[in-house]
Amino acid sequence: MCMFKQASWNQPVIFNMGKNGRRGHILPKVEEDIRNAIDLDSCIPKHMRRENLPKLPELSEVEVVRHFVRLSEMNYGVDSGLYPLGSCTMKYNPKINDMLASLPTIGMVHPYQDEGTVQGILEILYKLERWLAEITGTYEVCLHPAAGAHGEFLGTLLMLTYHKMNGESEKRREVIVPDSAHGTNPASATMAGFNVMVVPSDEDGCVDLEALKSVVSEKTAGLMLTNPNTLGIFEKNISEIAKIVHEIGGLLYYDGANLNPILGKARPGDMGFDIVHINIHKTFSTPHGGGGPGAGPVGVAKELAKFLPVPRIVLDSERYSLDYNRPHSIGKIRSFYGNIAVLLRAYAYILSLGFDGLKEVAEISVLNANYLMKKLKKIKGLTLPYNSKKPRKHECVFSAKLLKNDTGVSALNIAKRLLDYGVHAPTIYFPLIVEEALMIEPTESFEKEELDRFAEVMHEICEEAYRNPENVLNAPHNTAVSRLDEVKASHPKTMALSWRMYLKKNKQK
């Protein structure tokens, strides 16, 4: 099968490039009259002046461009090829949205401008809030959070505030998360001051109802749930779960990382979720940028709306404005109003698809996942834990445990070997309840031919594991670099977290 070869520039760290005196950018000159009128020396107290220039590299514009272009060639994005990174919904990022988000009529707009001069962007944000509320079945949406985890933090704070209003915050100290939950769920709940209780999954991969009944109590503040869950399985007992949590006085939180497969099909709000976050950079196609910026809006049920951060965007006889007068608001979780350039792309995405298109997105993402699952099930060495007969939604989680026992080749090794074929690896070792997990999410963005190729490559790798495990164990071979020493990278003796630190440590040697 045809292999891939990534560019492998031997690109030095930027501090080792350039020559003294080279310039990459020239600033506008200070005008002569200003120079004459102002004595700069007297403007900055002597002892507060910087003595030595910062040791930044000195490069021409040409070298800077070449450096970063070469670096980009040693990177892999959705535009490069299949990126079945489970839970991350690596779908196509429409180019028109990037183009619109780079217009000066948004880029050069300041958040404290007079409301009369920002009616356009306010209208976009206001409508986006309404659309997201409609899609999630919530009452009001706040666009402020910068990412999913930021939304979770806001959501758990809302839980806290709600219970405080009811005089129960002292008592309700526990947030329940399933053992299949993403790490941000327990981390967010802890940041909001809660103790985390873990509820196990049953043999169907869903929340174990009996176990749930035994962990809920009058101490329960709420339950955080991803649905479909991180196994790609719909929590079929959601109605009972909601009942159990609500009857005990808790709130139900929806981790929206997996909203994609139910777009236009079902809504978290209708299922009883009180708080919902949305990963805009997953479901709504905004580029992930190698780790952000994303956006994590939060939708809430009516009785929680008054707690949302300020300002809220309001519409009053055709004029949009920012309303800070919300006495019950929790305050602010960041500066300003959200990751606007990201949210604008989501607005464009919804407009490009409409209701029918969004529903099609959901259905094809599910079709693709089940199609791929069917093909991968045939591969020796891979198993599909948790009711292998059941259809999945947008993703499926295979285990390479058998392969590892037979050949020594682990999920990690498969992931690395996939890279050699120019396919990004799935998410591995998550969820934690699947040993040697390979979490595969094709999204709606990839054509059948690519899915077929992925299945073939997986097949080939697993065969190779039986035939010639060494080659898989030593993968990757075709990427910019071979396997990295991650232990060295994190060891206090060798750790180099900046160029400065690297130089300091290497001098000591």
Partner: protein, 465 residues
Amino acid sequence: MSEHNHPYIPNSQKEIKQEMMREIGIKGIDELYADIPKKYSLKKPLNLPEALSEFEVKKHIETLLAKNKSSDNMPMFLGAGCWPHYIPAVVKEVIQRSEFLTAYTPYQPEISQGILQALFEYQSMICELASMEVANCSMYDWASALGEAARMAVRVTGRREILVPKIIHPERAAALQVYTEPAEIIIGQVAYEKKTGQISLNNLRDKISDKTAAVYIENPSYLGFIETQVDEISKEADNHDALFIVGIDPTSLGVLKPPGDYGADIVIGEAQPLGNAMNFGGPLLGIFACRDDMSLIRQTPGRIIGLTTTMDGSRQGFCMTLQTREQHIRREKATSNICSNEALCAVASAVYMALLGPQGIRELGETIAYNVNYAMHLLSEINGVKAPIFDSAHFKEFTVNFDQAELSVKEVHEKLLHNNIHGGKDISKEFPELGETALYCITEIHSKKEIERLAEVLAKIVSKR
């Protein structure tokens, strides 16, 4: 679905769907949704707009955005946490490279060396500017970085109180409150000297104790003046074994002493002005840096990229480090919940810093300082206007007070707007004790002509009252 296949969804073609369904062994896609209880399955279309073609989407959004005014068509003097600067064309070009733009977090380092190296270089250049040794690859923004820094100081010291200056951005103060309240952290306020705005050392000495986890200052301060008693404040923190946290605007660090040189343990700030557009306030780019001290490093929130080698030691490479701090592994015991951050903004800042270089960063700081001092000079000559109100040196922003003119900031603002000028931020409600005061911002993009026109129009407004 409409009569054609959507360009974003290659498998929406009927024949392909059927072929795939055959392989799965189903007759309709709805069979794959059979486990969703009937009562939750949507019965009617949602109230969403009709799908538009690309051209229509573009037209629609461009038309809406054209209702905005931008600093391109109206001189603007707003800062306060989000600042207008020129972004070199190279920066925009690099962050549009789709290998960066459309990649996820670099979980597979071998195929992601590009973004990893770029982020390592961002961290390294931030360290050079701030004179620190460790930086993470970003926080959401300055405000959330402050919340995280306070929580970190409490974890490191085992104490519960953070002292912050009274003069601080109210949005940052609000976020700090929200971030720290659940951890039962007490926020104490340190008063300022009426005449200079500088932190009152006496008040600091009154408030600091062996319960203090950290002392936080901002330099330049929210109201633009340079905090000069940094050595004294640092010493005070040190004497009480409290950490010293400094918040910065990195565009000042070509001319101002870096916080690492006056004893900062943790440096936070906002790197939006280094190559990122204002975008109506987001995305921003939170700086988070600390000293090379394992007790600090282990408690740092967020992703940190490290330099390492390949397993065989033959080649240098980069990967995420110290992930045992993070939520994927540590879950409820993680140092923070932050996962996706602002990586691409950090790449933009890396490109920006590399373009400017040491000389460019100094010139940026000097140009800003020249322009600001020239503006203060012109405005302070207007009868009835006081600019700045504090007797201190200022960097990029300064206060303008209209009390003597008996005008409200609001009135002045409206008249300026009428002249197609956007004045500074009204802070009369945030700091009522400062009267009718606005916070003006001037950077390298403001020309002498624009500054002079501002002064002329203000003079007219004040004289006509």
